[in-house]
Each structure stands twice: as C-alpha cells, then as structure tokens.
C-alpha cells in the first residue's frame, strides 16, 4: 500500500468513526428521553458509558492522524476551480460596453437578459406570497400563541408546504431555461469583448466613506441614547441570569 492509499484509507476510517460517534451520542440522548427514566447524572453516565467506545475511538484516530504521513489529505480530494457559468457571465457583463455594439447583437443580448428577468420575477413572486401567508399566520395573534410553539410550527409547515412544492417545481422547470440563456449570452459576450477592454467605471469611491461615517454616527447615537436611558440594564439582566430554557436546558 502506498502513501496515497494509506491517506485515503485513514480519511475514510476517520469519517466513519466520526459519523458513528455522532449517531451513538444522538441515540443515547433519544434513549434517555424516551425510556421514561428521565435525565439525571446517573442515567446520562450509564448511557454515555454504553456508547463510550466509538466516542473515544474518534479522537484517538484524529490525534494519530496528525502523525507525519497521514495528516495531509489526498490531492484528489482537494477542491478545484469550479466552472460556473453564472459567475463567468457576471464577469463578462462587467467588462462589456453594449453601447458600441451593432443593433442585432445588442438586441440578442438584451433579449436574453429580459428572459432571465422574467424568470427571476416569477421566482420571487412565489416566495413573497408564501412569506405573506406565513406572516399572516404568525401574527394572527391568539391562534399562534394559543397553540404553543410546537403546534404553531406544525401549522407553519402545513401552510408553507404547498408553496415550497410549487417553488421547487418552478425551479426544476425554469433552471435549465435560465442556464441555457446564460450560456447563450456568454457566447455572445465572449465573441465581442477583447480581454482588458471596456473597463467598468468605478463607482462609489466618494460615497462609500460618507456612507460609513453616516452609519457610524447613527450607531454611536443609538448606543449613546440606549446607554443614557438605561437600555444597557436589560442587556445586563439577561446576561447575568441563566434562563435555563434559553440555553436548551428544558
């Protein structure tokens, strides 16, 4: 076995041990919850002892793996440069200046952009309607609060499920059309834009420092107002007292 094969074997073994350890821990927690005995220091100790072997193997493997020769992952698993049409299109669009093009080519590019705008618009409508429906359900005062949060969560899922299905169906349908439109525009832009030409005008050089200063002044004003009217006391109250359910102890 050569070094690459050893590294691959090691990484697979480590992955499996981590997954098994995680599943064992989760299984132990679920067992305690559904066993009816309730949580106590003793029951947790017994449950953890039952799954201790895979949980201990995991860090031992990790530590051993940092010995020379095993710590570097195999090269074939390292990330490579991803080719993504949408990103290439954005870069080409930044460099292109359509005002110098002939009418036919320019209208072809604009047509592709219009197509994608329509697809994006439709893609936005469905989630907006879904969010509006969800917001209406959430703020329908008594119903939401009377049902307690788990019940409300189930209600929200039932409400959102049709919108989600519709949205996924639309994405499956429109995705290939969108991708094809991107590729057509890339072909049009590549044929017309020489490398390095038509540099985009840099905007925001003067407005950005002013915007930063404005936002900083707002931030400092808010802090000062909150501080001198006692707002910090509520932060202190929450922070120095342990609300047990807020950290999941419930």
């Amino acid at each position: 076995m050569n070094k690459k094969q050893l590294q691959r074997l090691y990484s697979i073994a480590t992955s499996i041990s981590i997954l098994v350890a995680a599943l064992c821990l989760m299984g132990a927690c679920l067992y305690i919850l559904f066993s009816g005995h309730g949580f106590s220091r003793d029951t947790v100790a017994v449950a953890f002892h039952a799954v201790s072997l895979p949980v201990y193997i995991c860090p031992v493997l990790v530590v051993l793996g940092f010995l020379p020769g095993l710590s570097a992952p195999p090269k074939s698993l390292r990330r490579g440069i991803a080719r993504q049409d949408w990103l290439i299109l954005r870069r080409l669009q930044r460099k292109a200046d359509l005002s110098h093009w002939d009418d036919a080519r320019r209208s072809a590019v604009l047509k592709e952009r219009r197509t994608r705008s329509i697809l994006r618009g439709i893609s936005l409508v469905i989630p907006v309607i879904g969010c509006a429906a969800f917001g209406g359900y959430l703020f329908s005062g008594d119903r939401f609060l009377r049902e307690d949060l788990p019940g409300a969560a189930v209600g929200c899922v039932m409400l959102l499920a049709p919108f989600l299905m519709l949205y996924l169906t639309w994405i499956l349908f429109s995705g290939p059309i969108y991708a094809e439109s991107c590729r057509r525009e890339i072909d049009l832009l590549k044929s017309s834009v020489p490398p390095g030409a038509n540099q985009p005008r840099r905007t925001g050089d003067k407005t950005m420092p002013a915007l930063r200063l404005f936002l900083l002044v707002i931030a400092v004003s808010f802090i000062a107002f909150g501080f001198f009217t006692g707002g910090f006391r509520d932060v202190l109250t929450k922070a120095v007292n342990i609300c047990t359910e807020c950290i999941g102890l419930g």
Partner: protein
C-alpha cells in the same frame, strides 16, 4: 487571532471550575461574535441573544443593541466571522480533521439563504410576536443556537456542582443536543456549516460587508476574471467581498494581478507590494517599510498580550462571584426581609418568606424570563386553591425590578400571590441576595418550598407545570 479573541471573550476561567457564570458589569456590553452569555467563561453579552431579548424590554434597549450591532457591522463586517468569533474557531478546528470534504456548489449556495430565513423568523418575527403578549422568547437561542448548548448548557452540566440540573432536561434539550451534534459533525465535512447556512448574526453582518471599514476589497480595474479567488474560496461567494465573504484572506494570496487587497490601509500588505514613494532607492524603501512593519506588529502583539493578561487577572479575581453553595434541603433558611410589591410599586411593607408561619412556596422569577412568566399562572392557581393553608411568595430578580409593578397590575391585579422585591442585592451584591441565600445558583425560574418553621423542604431549578406543582404541594403538606 481566533484563539486570542476566544480567550479574551471567555476570560472568566473560574466560572468553569465553579459551575456558574460571570455576574459583573462587563456583561452590559456585547462581544462582536456569537458567544453565549451563559457560558461560564463569558465576560460580556451575546449580541444575538441581547437583540432577541430587546424586543420584550424597554424601547431604549433596542436602540442600544441595534447600535452595537450596527457599529460592529460598519467597522468589521463579516471579518468578525473570520477572525473574532469563538464558535467560528470551533468550526475551523473541526474542519482541520482530515476527512473527505464536501465542495461548495449550487446546493451549498442555495443553503446559504437559509440563514436569512432564520434571521427573519427566529430572531425577529417570533420574538416580536411573543413580545406583543409580554412573553419574552428568544426563539433562536431557545430552539436552535448550538453555541448556547455547547458553551452554556453542556459546560454547566459537566460541573458536578450542577448535578441537580439534570432533572430539568427534556425534549428541548434533546432537540438542541441532536442539532448541536449534527452541526459539529457537519463541520468536519463541510467548511463552517453553521456560519454559512445557519448563523443569523453572520447574515446581519454580511449586509454590511460592502460598507465595512475593514475586510476584503476587489479592484475591478485590475481584475481579469480568472476565477482563482472564487476557486480557492471555501464559502459561497459570488464575488470577493460580498455578503458571504468572511474575510479570511486566502484569495489575497492567489490573485495574480493583486486586484484583491485588504481595506484599512497598507498595514496588511507585504513590503514589496507597497508603493516606493519619494525614495529613489527601492531596496532602501523596502527595508524601511519592513522595519516599520516589524515595529508596528511587535507593539501590537505586546499590547494585545497585555490586554489579555489584564483581562484574565481582572475577571478571575472578581469577588462578586456566587458562593459555591447557599442553603440546602434541610437547612433553616436565612432571614430575608423583602419589600412587598404591588401594581403601584413598593409601599414599605415587608415580608420574610421563612417566617410566615405557614408552608411557603418561594418562586424567584423575572419578567425577562420566558419559563418564569409561563409558570406564574400555575402558582396563582395554587395560591387560590390553597388560600389560608399555604403562602406563595414570588420574588422578582433584583435587576429589572422596575418592570414588575406594571406586569403585576396588568396580569395579576387580584392575585393571592405575595409579590416581593429583593433589594438586598443592591447593597450586598448578588452573593448577598435572598436568592443566593436560599440556594440559587443563577438559574431562573427557581422555586424553594419552606415549612412553617422556615426549613427548606424542596428546591426546583426548572419550570413547573400545574400538575407537578400540585403534587409537590401535596407532598410537602403531608410531610409537614
């Protein structure tokens, strides 16, 4: 740097050994990153938890917390995620474990929108909806945040001083434990699972990435669109410096045209990248620049180490920490005269919970505490059912006591509960309060049952439902 800031924000190392949290005034300020304030080591507040709590608090609190988050966002943007966040450090360390890794792609980019949904729903909508009904509910902290479970819940449970807390664990803890283990396991195989897909604080800071004073900047006039920066980046950016960028800086080194740089001046640049300026001799300028950078970095390192050392000394020598144990079951409770609280405030009358001459249920609560306000109706019902037999005393926390009269007037105007305010903490600190004297260790709600002689019969560190409370009262009545 991440390790440094993790240590700085969690400098109260004594808290881990004592099994309690820091109670000092440092917690009125927020740290930039996600650091649960229930972590025993935390010396300041979490901005996300404070934001959720602010919706049910006074209006000025919202301004205060929003101002802090806005300031951090404008100054640092998501550089906080890459350099300052303790939970980000945990994720980075887990990712270093050599296993097969999941590459970024369309799926991860789609998942990166999930954190905005969590921000809108769990940080804003749900807390605001509950706040309208005077119920403080930090929904993200309670149902999702793995930092709270890992840094707060598990570290406190691990201390044997808090062995009694295991009895309060139930479905919420199980859900959060499963979620935390899943996220930490995912961090081994996917870079920064929580930061990229789930963190609402990162989502907030990401909105300021373009305008932030520090971070990554792309000079489009030098960019040749080679794609190397996006290839080497491990998060789901569309362009260097956008809202997903955590300013880790890996793209700076690979850009062939040096189009990517750090905002904030030349301090991050290498000597041979800096402008020569007016000096004719380029080599001499390079040496000068290198010397300047060495001195600057040395001074900065010394200052940072000094700050860390001072923080560790200050926070670990804090005398306001809770004593390891107050009264226990079977002990005679210490006399604690408390001011009676009504809808019109205090009127000078006092009550001593251990000297009522009846079986007394003492409940420590706060208007800022969700389970406290949710269980108070049960105490009200019990007080009515057992009128004349038992006394129910509800003592509001020393802090935020000014909110209690209005709450009592609105929801319990004719209640049989005796509301009280513990002012002893104002003079003696939390360590000298009635809460601590009766065995409280910082958790709310906390219920103590005293017999007619003031001896402690039972203590409960979790919220109670009506049946549980009624069983407890019946047991105590039969015992006494």
């Amino acid at each position: 740097m991440q390790l440094y800031f993790a240590l700085l924000f969690n400098a109260n190392l004594n808290g881990f050994s004592r099994g309690t949290i820091y109670h000092g005034s440092g917690k009125q300020f927020c740290v930039p990153g996600l650091n649960c304030y229930s972590c025993p080591g935390a010396v300041a507040a979490c901005p996300l938890g404070s934001l959720q709590g602010a919706f049910s608090a006074d209006r000025s609190t919202i301004f205060y917390v929003s101002g802090i988050i806005l300031m951090y966002g404008v100054l640092l943007g998501r550089m906080i995620c890459g350099w300052l966040c303790p939970f980000g450090l945990i994720q980075d360390l887990l990712y270093r474990i050599p296993t097969p890794k999941l590459k970024k792609g369309p799926l991860t980019r789609a998942l990166s929108m999930l954190k905005y949904i969590l921000l809108a729903v769990f940080v804003f909508l749900i807390p605001i909806a509950y706040a309208m009904k005077d119920i403080p509910l930090p929904a993200f902290c309670k149902y999702i945040c793995p930092a709270g479970t890992l840094e707060g819940g598990l570290t406190l449970l691990a201390n044997e001083v808090n062995a009694g807390w295991f009895s309060m664990l139930g479905p919420i803890f199980t859900w959060k434990f499963l979620l935390t283990v899943s996220i930490l396991t995912g961090c081994v195989f996917v870079f920064r699972v929580f930061c990229r897909f789930l963190c609402p604080l990162g989502a907030l800071y990401g909105l300021f990435n373009r305008v932030s004073c520090l971070g990554i900047r792309l000079d489009e006039s030098k960019c040749t669109a080679c794609g190397r920066c996006e290839g080497v980046c491990r998060v789901d950016i569309r362009q260097v410096g956008d809202r997903e960028c955590i300013s880790c800086g890996e793209c700076v080194n690979v850009c062939p045209t040096k189009a990517i740089s750090w905002k904030g001046g030349t301090i991050f640049q290498k000597a041979n990248e800096l402008a020569v300026g007016k000096t004719k001799n380029a080599a001499q300028a390079t040496i000068q620049q290198r010397r300047f950078r060495l001195v600057t970095r040395s001074v900065a390192a010394v200052l940072m180490l000094a700050v860390l050392a001072m923080s560790l000394l200050h926070f670990n020598g804090d005398a306001d920490a809770l004593p390891s144990q107050g009264c226990e079951i079977g002990d005679l409770s210490i006399s604690c005269p408390l001011e009676i609280l009504t809808a019109r405030g205090t009127d000078g009358r006092t009550i001593d919970p251990g000297r009522t001459g009846q079986l007394t249920i003492v409940n420590f609560w706060g208007t800022w505490c969700t389970p406290c306000v949710q269980e108070l109706p049960y105490f009200d019902q019990i007080a009515r059912e057992y009128r004349g037999t038992i006394a129910v005393v509800a003592i509001h926390t020393p802090l935020a006591g000014e909110t209690a009269p209005a709450y009592i007037g609105k929801y319990y105007p004719e209640s049989d509960i005796l509301f009280a305010l513990d002012r002893s903490a104002d003079e003696a600190g939390l360590a000298g309060s009635c809460y601590t004297a009766l065995g409280g260790r910082g958790t709310y709600p906390y219920t103590v049952i005293l017999d007619e002689n003031g001896v402690i019969l039972h203590t409960v560190v979790s919220a109670l439902d009506y049946e549980g409370l009624k069983d407890l009262v019946a047991t105590c009545l039969s015992e006494s």
